[in-house]
């Protein structure tokens, strides 16, 4: 039951305007409570999105005194723009590395740590540590760590007699290097989500599996754990996808899109277009594409959450 306010429907139902009852809260209370948020929501979210949609149809450049509506030309330009397509495909390749890596690692960590008799807490703390670290600070560390000549990683490789790998100077490896950092910082987060899902599995199911003769750990994993973690897994995949899709900090700090555009991702390109080259119209068009993709993921997420609820 919720608190009733002067319900408009009742006012319509009655022919005569009745004196307000003391039990009815004045209608303005709810609006007064919600007003600050509603105003901010309009100013900071709805209005900017509307402006951005309109701006994507213009040739506005920051600093220009005039601009013209050019219809969908920005979008058509994007369709022909090789840099944009490269950024888009880089982003998807990045997602395709980070998501399976961080989800599988997170699941493995969750299953292994929750199965421990001792030390579960300390391990989980260690694996969660990267989640709490400031991305920019850790990016500088990783940049040095994977440095081609003086990076400790390569020094270790060399001392083992292996050839050095220069991740961030090699166009074929740079994106992978960034993806490794993201897997490192995301796996602990996913581990916590999986661990929560694991504790929700009733232990009687494992007893039942044991009685049914599934005594091997791997049998139990595939017959009980994995099926029951299904909804959690779907959710973790979608959440990780959205996180990976929004990659920006490591690119900005470590590679700046290089070498030779191999780590140029969607948000970074958009950022450069808008805030370095000040081509607002085409940056807005890119943002619209970004928003569209994010919305698809978000719909997927709601759908997955729905499924989880009904599971």
């Amino acid at each position: 039951m919720s608190v009733e306010t002067t319900g408009a429907p009742r006012a319509f139902a009655l022919p005569l305007r009745r004196k307000r009852l003391g039990a009815e809260l004045p209608g303005w209370i709810a609006y007064a409570l919600a007003a600050p948020s509603m105003i901010l929501l309009c100013l900071l979210m709805l209005l900017p999105i509307a402006v951005m949609l309109v701006m994507s149809l213009t040739n506005y450049r920051f600093g220009d005194l005039s601009y013209a509506f050019i219809g969908v030309e920005n979008y058509l330009d994007l369709a022909d723009d090789r840099t944009f397509w490269r950024a888009l495909s880089n982003t998807f390749v990045y997602v395709a590395i980070v998501v399976p890596g961080s989800v599988a690692l997170g699941l493995a960590l969750a299953v292994m740590t929750t199965g421990l008799r001792r030390g579960r807490k300390i391990y989980q703390m260690i694996f969660f540590l990267p989640v709490t670290a400031t991305v920019v600070a850790m990016a500088t560390v990783w940049k040095y760590l994977l440095h081609g000549t003086i990076g400790p990683f390569n020094l270790v490789l060399q001392s083992l007699g292996l050839p050095a790998i220069d991740f961030f100077s090699d166009p074929d490896l740079a994106l992978t290097g960034l993806a490794i950092i993201n897997i490192w910082s995301l796996a602990g987060f996913n581990m916590v989500l999986f661990a929560a899902g694991l504790t929700a599995i009733p232990s009687e199911l494992y007893d039942a599996a044991e009685v049914d003769g599934l005594s091997e750990p791997l049998d139990r994993f595939f017959s009980v754990t994995l099926p029951l973690l299904g909804p959690t897994t779907l959710f973790v995949i979608v959440t990780s996808t959205i996180t990976a899709f929004k990659v920006f900090d490591t690119v900005a700090v470590i590679t700046r899109g290089g070498p030779r555009g191999s780590t140029d991702v969607l948000l970074y390109t958009t950022y450069l277009e808008g805030f370095s080259y000040f081509r607002m119209g085409s940056a807005a068009a890119m943002t619209v594409v970004f928003l569209a993709i994010i919305m698809v993921f978000a719909l997927l997420q709601t759908w997955v959450l729905d499924k989880k609820v009904h599971y």
Binding site: M1, S2, V3, T5, G7, I29, L33, A34, P36, S37, M38, L40, L41, L44, M45, L47, P48, M52, F62, L109, G115, L116, G119, Y123, M125, F127, T132, A133, T134, V135, V136, A137, M138, T140, W142, Y144, H147, I150, P152, L155, V156, W184, F189, A196, G197, T232, F248, D249, A252, Y271, G274, F275, M280, A283, A284, T287, F290, M295, F297, A298
Partner: protein
């Protein structure tokens, strides 16, 4: 095994007789992974104590050959505005948090406990806005702040986040479960609606608010994107922006000082995490399923 009278008892008994190989194996794998996970932190710390000459020799030693003490930390604090960055980080993160809480709580209460026209529309907008990251309204917000001459200020760094639809959503869930009877008792006791919200309902949602505070502070302490756009002057830079700029200027020559700076800037949140792990994890993973 077959002789065991009770099926359930057999694994436990067996484990007492034999070494738990499964457990030992898991520990070995986890230890290896833990070393890999901690390696960047170790490198950060150990490099902040190494002398430059050692850094550029093609050999890797686990510990510094020549201990530099707090040299780089002192250097980092005295020659770069690290403390200013931290102060800015605190001001901006706390300013955002206070505004978010002040705006989100009344709105969440209205959505949770009042019936009013437009409530469903507002809720739908909140849920839509949940999915929209800051990068989407960034361009118009930048233009707007520029038109008002407000760029390069604390206000510019904070204002896009004054409203957290996530906070509204979260607090609404929490308020909804607050018993109506207690609210009605408060009305009979004579409390105003405003007093009921802040003195009766909000104290019941302290855990949710605390978790959100962790989430919000972590997010905005670590944010690079928006400060990068609106902050220009050194004395207003946040820790990530300051570090990114500083690292650039140093261009990799003084790794010791760079790592010392990174350590200083990472330390506060890590310490909070170590001290209040449960609350911290709850706060940071709040976007996930409960």
């Amino acid at each position: 095994m077959a002789a065991a009278p009770n099926h359930r008892a057999s694994p436990r008994r067996a484990s007492r007789r034999r070494l738990p190989w499964g457990q030992i194996g898991t520990h070995l794998v986890l230890l290896l992974l833990a070393v890999l996970f901690l390696f960047p932190f170790y490198v950060m710390l150990v490099t902040s104590f190494r002398s430059p000459s050692e850094l550029f020799t093609p050999e890797f030693h686990l510990l510094p050959q020549e201990f530099t003490g707090l040299k780089y930390y002192i250097e980092s604090i005295t020659t770069s505005p690290v403390l200013t960055f931290m102060k800015n980080g605190v001001i901006i993160a706390l300013g955002i948090l206070v505004m978010q809480i002040l705006t989100a709580i009344p709105c969440a209460y209205a959505l949770a406990k009042f019936e009013f026209r437009g409530r469903n529309l507002l809720l739908a907008l909140v849920i839509f806005a949940l999915t929209v990251p800051i990068q989407v309204p960034a361009l118009p917000l930048y233009l707007g702040l520029n038109a008002l001459g407000l760029l390069d200020s604390y206000f510019a760094a904070m204002v896009p986040f004054f409203l957290s639809v996530f906070a509204i959503f979260l607090f609404r869930q929490s308020f909804k479960s607050y018993p109506d009877e207690i609210i009605q008792a408060a009305r009979l006791d004579g409390l105003s609606e405003w007093a009921i919200l802040w003195r009766i309902v909000v104290p019941g949602s302290i855990p949710a608010i605390a978790a959100f505070a962790v989430f919000s502070i972590t997010t905005h302490w670590n944010d690079l994107y928006w400060p990068l756009i609106v902050i220009r002057s050194n004395e207003l830079m946040t820790p990530p922006l300051g570090l990114a700029t500083f690292a650039d200027v140093e261009s990799g020559e003084n790794y010791g000082a760079l790592m010392a700076t990174a350590t200083i800037l990472t330390a506060p949140l890590m310490l909070v995490f170590m001290l209040a792990q449960r609350q911290f994890v709850r706060g940071v993973t709040m976007t996930g399923v409960k």
